[in-house]
Amino acid sequence: MIEATGLRKSFRVGRGRGASTVEAVRGVDFAVRRGEIVGFLGPNGAGKSTTLKMLATLLRPSGGVATIAGVDLLRSPAEVRRRIGFVAQASGTYDDSTARRDLVLQARMHGRAKSVAQELAAAAIRAFQLDDFADRKIRTYSGGQRRRLDVALGVIHSPQVMFLDEPTAGLDPPSRARMWREVRRLRDEGMTIFLTTHYLDEADSLCDRVSIIDAGRIVAEGTPSDLKREISGDVVTVDLAASELLDAAGGDLPAATKLLAEAPYVRAAEPVDGALRLYVDGAATAIPQIMRALYDRGIEPGAIETRRPSLDDVFLAKTGRSLEE
């Protein structure tokens, strides 16, 4: 449904002699199949929104090609617009308007006649359960209500492909859960969905496939479970922030990292936020060995935690940084 090859975008920043070029997206390749929910996961500034805006015809790519719903993005952007829906990070509604007015306008901008547009708006209000506030001013809506309206606007013309830029950023947990239900419902109705997120749980539970993007490049790609399987074994986190020795010596974390990274029962060790994250084959056998090694060095660990690998561990393994930092 979406196929992109070598998609690139660079911006010129500044003027005259001080001008420089920023590479926002450095050539990404990916494909999205019909009826999939695919997510771009990455930190802010990784190039997620820029990629999305290129696919949604808002930005002209500096290089590369893409086909969306069988239409060439560069050659016929107008045709692409008929087939896609787009929900930007910024809400994109008029504070003084109402949901119904904006829905009707949106349908009419897609070329529908007035009566058809009014029916489509009424249907969208039912489908997204906007009934209670559809005729109130948008400035009175809650964040979740606003976001639902945004998505309703994006799909008023039943597009084949839907682009969602950070659909749940800033929403409370119940509103997020509800938004996930809406996104799954759209997929079940046959839509292909491409979204960006910087939430691990969102990528993990909502997306069929995830592309991890960092500094304008895709660093890993696959289903969430495949990606996590690459990091086999368990993750053990040893809290060293409370360690008295750490305070006194002012830096036992590097020493502990070095010590454990060289231990045969640890596959990799990464310091994250005053804690040490260790990748091991089995937590049950590794934890006593880790404890002994630390005590031998006179380092008293705080809390020790063990869990299955998350997408953050994948991100850390690929980029050397944590998304949660």
Partner: protein, 254 residues
Amino acid sequence: MKLVRDTWLIFQQEAGLMVRNPVMVAFSLAQPITYLILFAPFLKVVMVDRGAATYADAYRIYVPGLFVAMGLFGGLFAGYGLLSALRAGIIDRCRVTPVSRTALLLGRALMHVCLNVVQAVVVTLVALPFGLRVHLANLLVSYALLGVMVLLSTSISYDIALLVRNENSLGVLVNTVGQPISLLAGVLIPLVLAPMWIQRVALWNPFAWATDGMRALFAGQVFQTVVWQGALIMIGLAAASLLWSSHLFNREVS
């Protein structure tokens, strides 16, 4: 055809939102009406040797000037609306639909034209009890001239807004440009009272031509050359400026 339909669509949306905010519309009338009531009487005193013997004469000279001032500043501040629509993501949402991109700009500009003409009608009605008398046909032509003028000032504001991309710079630039243009158009005090060198400079000010045309219309001199000269200058510049803003607007924006 599609451009006309889409422009009408955006115009309806923008005008609908304006109507839903009647308080704002009322407030935007406060300044012109204040000038009308508190400033026009000065003119009778100043212009007594220049054919303003009565209040009716003073209003016949002042009301057209007020139209120009309203048309100039009403349009020049339109860029704020465009910037806030850009920032809110409204423009991006519209650009991802097949709607004509030029219509997104033109529909908005025409809403300002409509708003300013409505304001001019109110000002005319308020001026009637003070003795303003003008032929209906001439009045209608002056509204049309005002409309073109607003189209010009609105698109100038859009040009600036699209180039500077922030409200603060827009405000500074609009005031810097607007003040000399309005003073050099003689909107407050007719240029006949100005020193010779100011009159010479004013020859280069298109809005001065429009003001002279507007005053001629109110004086009942429809066929004076300055009427069609002022109108032609406004139409030409409005067309050029609109083309430029739509070029700037259709250029990719982030």
